[in-house]
Amino acid sequence: MDAFFAAVEQRDRPELKGKPVIVGGPPGSRSVVAACSYEARKYGIHSAMPSGYAYKLCPKAIFVKGNFKAYKEANGIITSIFHEYTDLVEPLSIDEAYMDVTENIPKIEYASVIAIEIRKKIFKATDLTASAGISFNKFLAKVASDYNKPDGQTVVTPENAARFIDNLKIGKFYGVGKVTEKKMKALGIMTGADLKQFSREELKKIFGKVGGYYYDMANGIDDRPVNTNRIRKSIGKEHTLNEDITDIDEMHEILHSIALKLEKSLNGKNVKGLTVNLKVKFDDFESITRSISVFEPVSDAETIFEHTKGLLSKTVAGKRKVRLLGISISNFTGNVEFIEIDEQLKFKFQY
């Protein structure tokens, strides 16, 4: 989806149309930009930038709090449109998904035709525009989807893949974050063509195991399947108490220690989430969950703890005995692709 959160705001509040809109906390706060409209992007504003800095770049930008319910609703409509074509849909985030249309329900021969249809349907149903990337593997499809934004699509065929990759800036590669980008540039790797000069072994030596990935990407090799079960939707930690408790302070202490563990786990996977979930199990085994969606992706223990404390106060914990507490983070943003995949265990076959 193109500038998803901001586009939904502009759609629902016509007075924002054509104006630089920033979804996120106000400039005075310590917030960051969760999303911004294309008008705001012209000023150099992008998501994850501190709100204060965004304000400096464009003082007339309009800051809005955002409406998660509306985004979720749009996401639901879009997802059901995807499923009219295939059940092989792998959501990457609230506004992005991979689809494998090799076999598709309406039996359309060309993926680009499907993309046109889907984009039309999305526009008709939600009044929002979407962009698509069409290719023979996930990496190329993802990069291609960014190529002709907004409201466009790009096809990368096996014939033009090599040229497409050669011209690709290194920061656009799968798994190349800011740090790696710097390292690559220091090595003189500016584009895909530069990366291609390195052998798999050389890249592995420089970057470790992930070097193998970079090699594959540079050579257009990516055989990760589109898998609906792949993406872990939440990461959580929980703690069963030795004995049931009613003391709120004690619960806070436990939640704090859970938040610390969770922070470690989130950082380890390099992800942040937009939703904090609290789980409370009472002494009669009844469990409840409470959640809050926020506009700055969280991963640090203190913020998570503060949110959970608020959530806990909305429950009857304390009035009733509690036997388990848990926190999880969902609605991931950022490096979603590196989330640990497939927690489903498998047989260890021998042949």
Binding site: K107, K233, E343, Q344, F347, K348
Partner: protein
């Protein structure tokens, strides 16, 4: 070529035959169904996608022998579009370069397609063979098909493995490496040639064969090292065998389990149904907690909250369960496994929260399903 046949029968057979025509092939000729009118007042329809082929023979009044190709897609559409009355006839006539299809007041003139490049279809008709009741075959496929891998990269897991170690009954096995289903079914006769005792047949083919049926009573199968042919009355389906090696599935069948639960099948199914809507939102995960006499199914999702369902066991569980024991599964795997069971008494056997679990009917060994759990974190 000139023949007249019962339209309803021809339409049904043509549509069945169209299934193996290859609409996505690089060889456009494979998009067609071949119809051959023979001298014995029979017509034969054939199609192949080079992996699987169908050959169907039916009665017709042949006044001139001949052969033609007709697009599977166009043919099916024509045959289903003409208003049809069960006992009406349909006529196929080739005149010059046109195929004329006539039925009642409808008439279609289709340019003749050159069929010279169409590959020859040769069903296996000698060598190793076995005969199985159609109901048995259908049941075996029904029990194991959900475990067939849908990952097109896993060549050796895309099939149903038929193990012919016993001459009275065969084992049908499928696994996608996360779950495994096993069904033993009796066979009517077996004649194995040069020692080949097992075959691996594409799951989709087995599903198609099992789906044929109405009035089929038994299936005769011939196979060699490369192909297998299923003879069902007037229909012959031939498929390439999967040459990749099926895993040694026996090693994941646990010899001993630590915990055994006896359950009522319908209660179990209802319990799964109760938590299914929430489980579906979170990668189909369902968590099971155990105590001496009951099982609690929990599913939770940040969006939909928590669903919890308690189910009493038919008998106290046997074995030791740690307090707070939990195990997590893909709920679909559990429901697939129990839906293959016919009786109402189920045994659910566990080792621990990271090892395979077995689901089977009590006192029966002809069917079981083995499921790997989802890691708890």
């Amino acid at each position: 070529m000139n023949f007249t046949a019962l339209k309803d029968e021809l339409r049904k057979n043509f549509q069945l035959c169209s299934k193996t025509a290859d609409t996505k092939s690089l060889q456009p000729i494979l998009e067609n169904v071949i119809i051959k009118a023979g001298d014995d007042n029979n017509i034969t329809m054939m199609s192949t996608n080079t992996e699987v082929s169908t050959m169907i023979t039916m009665k017709a009044d042949v006044s001139e022998q001949g052969i033609t190709a007709i697009s599977a897609k166009i043919g099916s559409e024509i045959l289903s579009s003409i208003s049809w009355n069960k006992d009406e006839n349909i006529e196929f006539i080739i005149k010059d370069d046109t195929l004329l299809i006539k039925s009642g007041d409808s008439k279609f003139n289709i340019p003749v397609i050159n069929y010279d490049a169409y590959p020859e279809i040769i069903p296996v008709s000698e060598g190793s063979s076995f005969k199985i009741g159609f109901a048995n075959l259908k049941n075996a496929v029904r029990c194991v098909k959900s475990a067939v891998s849908k990952d097109f990269l896993k060549e050796n897991l895309k099939g149903i493995y038929i193990e012919m170690e016993d001459e009275n009954s065969f084992n049908f096995v499928a696994t996608d490496s996360r779950r495994l289903s096993f069904k033993r079914e009796s066979v009517k006769s077996v004649a194995l040639g040069d020692g080949k005792k097992n075959v691996l047949i594409p799951g989709t083919v087995m599903d198609d064969v099992a789906g044929i049926g109405e009035d089929v009573e038994e299936v005769m199968c011939f196979f060699d090292n490369k192909n297998i042919s299923f003879y069902l009355n007037n229909i012959v389906i031939t498929s390439s065998l999967i040459e990749a090696q099926f895993p040694n599935y026996k090693m994941v069948v646990p010899e001993e389990t630590k915990i055994s639960l006896k359950l009522d099948r319908s209660l179990f199914i209802n319990s799964l149904k109760a938590v299914m809507p929430v489980a579906r939102l979170e990668n189909n995960c369902v968590e099971i907690a155990l105590s001496k006499d009951c099982m609690i199914f929990n599913a939770s999702s940040p969006d939909a909250g928590v669903a919890s369902q308690k189910m009493h066991l038919t008998d106290e569980l046997t074995g030791e369960v740690e307090p707070d024991f939990r195990i997590k599964f893909n709920i679909k795997y559990l429901s697939d496994a129990v839906s293959s069971i016919e009786g109402n008494e189920i045994e659910f056997k566990l080792i621990d929260s990271v090892s395979q679990a077995v689901i089977k009917e009590i006192d029966r060994t002809d069917y079981f399903s083995i499921i790997m759990p989802i890691k708890l974190y």
